[in-house]
Structures are given as structure tokens and as C-alpha cells.
């Protein structure tokens, strides 16, 4: 079977798997960014309880394997009465894991906004919340964007693990195809290329565009 024949026969399934992977990536990213923002801010809170919760969260989700977390969310949580559908369990696990890494990015970026900006906001008598939203975060976003570019690529690759709980993503589909055809080079080769293309030609340009847009907003471009 030529590669073209292979694509003709299994293209549909590979495409449908790719779409699932992209959807997983988008949903996990949204979740990861939301978690990172909240946890990163909690880490900087004057309240020791909030700081503690955030630290424990980051330690657990950064310090243990994503695969184990995925199995916990899918197989163990139901024992405590929380049952998630496998697709949901998949993107929740990936989002929560990468959110823990993102939290440190958020925290670091906020801390690297120059001190003078905090002081100027205080001199204008802003409340801490307003200062964060209006002055600090907009500048922190630009600082953390390159880091997020890396993290989102990690996240995309992390989604391949959800195949192990039978979510029909790209990895799951090519494994199935390989199981019946034994065309390992074609199946896994195709998956390799698709993951690379998503990272290189979708995520990276998107992040670059975002960076340029933010720089324009700062009058730097």
C-alpha cells in the first residue's frame, strides 16, 4: 500500500483525531490560563491561606506525572462520587497540569513589572485590585507571552496521553490504525508530522501575533 493509498483509506479517521486533538488543546489551554492566572495571583496574596493553597496545588500538579493525574481524575475521582466523561477528564487533567506550570510564569511576570509602576499606581491612590488589573497585568502579559508559547506546545504534546483513557484524539486513532494494519512507520510518522505542524504553524505564529499585538498596545512596535 502506497502512502497515498494509506491516506486515502485512513485519512478520515486521522482528520477526526486531529480535530479532537485541536479541540482538546484549545479547551485545556483556556483552563490552564485561567488556573495559572488565579493560582499565580494567589501565590502573591498577602493572605497566607490563599498562598498556601496555591503552593500545594502547584507542588502536586507540577511534581507528579501528568499520566498519573489523568488516571486519578478518570479512574479514582468516581470512587469519591465525581465522574467525568472521558473527554472532559482528558482536557481537565491536561489543563490542571499545565496551569500549575503557568502559575509560576504568571507570578514571575507580575514580579518583574518594575517597582516604579506599582508605586505610581499607589500614588494615584488605586486599590490593589485596580492596580493589578489596570497597570500590572497588562504589562505582565507581555513579559510572560514567550513563556506561554513554550507551555502551549508542551500542552499540545501532553494531550497525546488522553489516548490512554480512550479519548479518540489523533494518538488514539493512529494507535488503532496501527493495531489493524501494522503500518507503524506510516501511522506514527503521520502523527509526528501533524503534531509538529500544529505546534510550528498554528501555535507559534499565533503567539507571535499576540506578542506583536501586545507590543503595539505598548506603543513599542
Amino acid at each position: 500500500m502506497s502512502y497515498l493509498e494509506f491516506l486515502g483509506q485512513y485519512g478520515d479517521r486521522i482528520l477526526s483525531g486531529t480535530l479532537v486533538t485541536v479541540l482538546l488543546t484549545v479547551l485545556s489551554s483556556v483552563l490552564a490560563i485561567a488556573i495559572a492566572l488565579v493560582t499565580g495571583l494567589m501565590r502573591l496574596s498577602p493572605n497566607a491561606v490563599l498562598r498556601g493553597i496555591a503552593t500545594v496545588y502547584i507542588e502536586i500538579f507540577r511534581g507528579t506525572s501528568l499520566l498519573v493525574q489523568l488516571y486519578w481524575i478518570f479512574y479514582v475521582l468516581p470512587l469519591f462520587g465525581v465522574t467525568l466523561e472521558k473527554f472532559t477528564a482528558g482536557f481537565v487533567a491536561v489543563g490542571m497540569n499545565l496551569g500549575a506550570y503557568g502559575a509560576e510564569l504568571v507570578r514571575g511576570a507580575i514580579l518583574s513589572v518594575p517597582r516604579g509602576q506599582w508605586e505610581a499606581a499607589l500614588a494615584l491612590n488605586m486599590t490593589p485590585a485596580r492596580r493589578m488589573i489596570r497597570v500590572i497585568l497588562p504589562q505582565a502579559v507581555l513579559i510572560m507571552l514567550p513563556g506561554w508559547g513554550n507551555l502551549l506546545i508542551e500542552l499540545l504534546k501532553g494531550t497525546a496521553l488522553v489516548a490512554l483513557i480512550a479519548v479518540a484524539d489523533l494518538m488514539f486513532q493512529v494507535k488503532q490504525i496501527n493495531g489493524t494494519t501494522f503500518l507503524s512507520a506510516e501511522t506514527f510518522g503521520t502523527a509526528l508530522i501533524i503534531y509538529y505542524v500544529i505546534a510550528r504553524f498554528m501555535i507559534t505564529p499565533f503567539m507571535r501575533w499576540l506578542e506583536r499585538a501586545m507590543q503595539r498596545k505598548l506603543g513599542r512596535a
Binding site: Q117, Q139, L218, G219, R220
Partner: protein, 273 residues
């Protein structure tokens, strides 16, 4: 803040001539390093006071404490008769909470050595930010107020530029307009010309001269521009080692300094020029 006996400090200043700003026995230290040692300083309403002195003498700390950028270790600061660092509870003073700080802080504005404009906002947006988001003015009112002030500092044409497109002198003028847009009673200038190229210092000092001439503002200015301080101040304070070593009218302090340290400092400064 260390626990201290505040029983000798009034809950508020009353009488005929209540100073706009009053430092009473204010102490500031970092660990064992005493930056300000029991400072007493009154600034009358509408008065322009310049603070000079060698680096490390505590002069910038005076402004930073007044802007509540630094806490104090002892004493009380009053603004417009009310305690700033403390608040009355019953018949005694307790350390101020954030609400009290915000209420009193509203009377104070500050300009910084490094301008500290918000880089993601245009000159006009920088000026409108406080009035809209802190004072609760409508966008229209805030815009009118800001445009008026930008005109006063000669920045009308550059109002839609971001700070990165402005020179240091232009940024500092916008920063002055931004602080003035909050309608403070007290303005603090912390070495506002120190980061500027010599040829643009004049554009900033001219704006400050204008403020002195046209507004009944109380001003405290830390500066290294001795000539400027001499021209526009009502009073000059020479700081040394966390205390006011000598103070007086510009003519007295610059013309006939009494203390040896003042004489040494002034002659060293003159040599540098």
C-alpha cells in the same frame, strides 16, 4: 510598625494655622540603620519647601513616607490636620488601615525621578486613568480635565503618543499632568530632573514654576538643582544624617549657611558645577 506610646500625639491638629503637612517625631529605620531620626517638619498650606542634602541623608525617604510608599517606625505624620499614618479610635491613635490611608492619600500627588508613566497607555490615557478609575469621573469630564492639564504642560500635540515615543522631559511633564489630574492639595517632586538630559531640565522646571505661580499647592521637592531650589522655594531644608541640619529662606541658607556641614555641602556642590 513598632508598638509605641502615642499618647502625646493629638488626634487631629486644630487651631488657626494648621500646617498642611506635619511630621511629628517621625523615625524610619531599616534594621539597625536609622534613616530618619525623630524628624519634626511642618509645611504650611501653599508653601514650597525644597529638600537638599547628600545622598543617604534621608531626603527622598521623607517624600516616600508621605506618599505612604514607606511605613514609619515611630511618630505621626499629619496631612491637612488629620493623621495619615494613624487614625483615631476612641481617644487614641492606632495604625491606619487601608481605607483610612486611601482617604488621606487622596490629598497627595507625587512625581518620580523615573517618571513611571504607564507604558501601555497614551499620554492622555495616563492622565485620565486616575480620574476615571479612582475618582469615578465620567470619561468626558476626565478627558476635559486631562486635556487642560496637558495643555498647561505643553503636551497637547503628543497626547496620543505612548511614553516610549516621548523624551524624558516630555514624559516628566505628562507625569506632572497625571498627578495634577487627581487635584491633590500636596505635590511631591522626587528628584524629577535627575534622570533628564541637561538641555531638557528647563522644560520641566518651567512647568513647576508655573504650578507655583498659578496654584495654591503645597509642595515638597527633593532636588539637586540648587539654582532652581533657590529661585522658587519659600524655604529650603538641608538634610544630613536623617535630620534637618539647617533650614531657612533660600537667601539665608544659600547666602549665609550657619552650620559647617551646610557650608561644606554647598561648596562641594558649587565645585561640581
Amino acid at each position: 510598625m513598632d508598638a509605641q506610646d502615642l499618647s502625646g500625639f493629638p488626634l487631629r491638629l486644630e487651631g488657626d494655622a494648621v500646617p498642611m503637612v506635619s511630621f511629628r517625631k517621625v523615625t524610619k529605620s531599616y534594621g539597625s540603620l536609622v534613616v530618619l531620626d525623630s524628624l519634626d517638619l511642618d509645611v504650611a498650606e501653599g508653601e514650597m519647601v525644597s529638600v537638599i542634602g547628600p545622598s543617604g541623608s534621608g531626603k527622598t525617604t521623607v517624600l516616600r513616607m508621605l506618599m505612604t510608599l514607606e511605613t514609619i517606625n515611630g511618630g505621626v505624620i499629619y496631612v491637612d490636620g488629620e493623621p495619615l499614618t494613624h487614625m483615631p479610635r476612641g481617644d487614641r491613635l492606632v495604625p491606619a488601615d487601608s481605607r483610612h490611608l486611601r482617604r488621606i492619600r487622596a490629598k497627595i500627588g507625587m512625581c518620580f525621578q523615573q517618571f513611571n508613566l504607564f507604558p501601555h497607555m497614551t499620554a492622555l490615557e495616563n492622565c485620565m486613568e486616575g480620574p476615571v478609575h479612582v475618582l469615578g469621573l465620567s470619561k468626558k469630564e476626565a478627558r476635559e480635565r486631562s486635556e487642560e492639564l496637558l495643555a498647561m504642560v505643553g503636551m497637547t500635540e503628543k497626547r496620543d503618543q505612548h511614553p516610549s515615543r516621548l523624551s524624558g522631559g516630555q514624559q516628566q511633564r505628562v507625569a506632572i499632568a497625571r498627578a495634577m489630574a487627581m487635584r491633590p492639595k500636596v505635590m511631591l517632586f522626587d528628584e524629577v530632573t535627575s534622570a533628564l538630559d541637561p538641555e531638557v531640565i528647563g522644560e520641566v522646571t518651567n512647568v513647576i514654576r508655573k504650578l507655583v505661580a498659578e496654584h495654591n499647592l503645597t509642595m515638597l521637592m527633593v532636588t539637586h538643582q540648587m539654582g532652581f531650589a533657590k529661585d522658587i522655594s519659600d524655604r529650603v531644608c538641608f538634610f544630613y544624617g536623617g535630620r534637618i541640619e539647617e533650614q531657612g529662606t533660600p537667601d539665608a541658607l544659600f547666602g549665609h549657611p550657619k552650620r559647617e556641614r551646610t557650608q561644606q555641602f554647598l561648596s562641594a556642590v558649587r565645585e561640581a558645577i
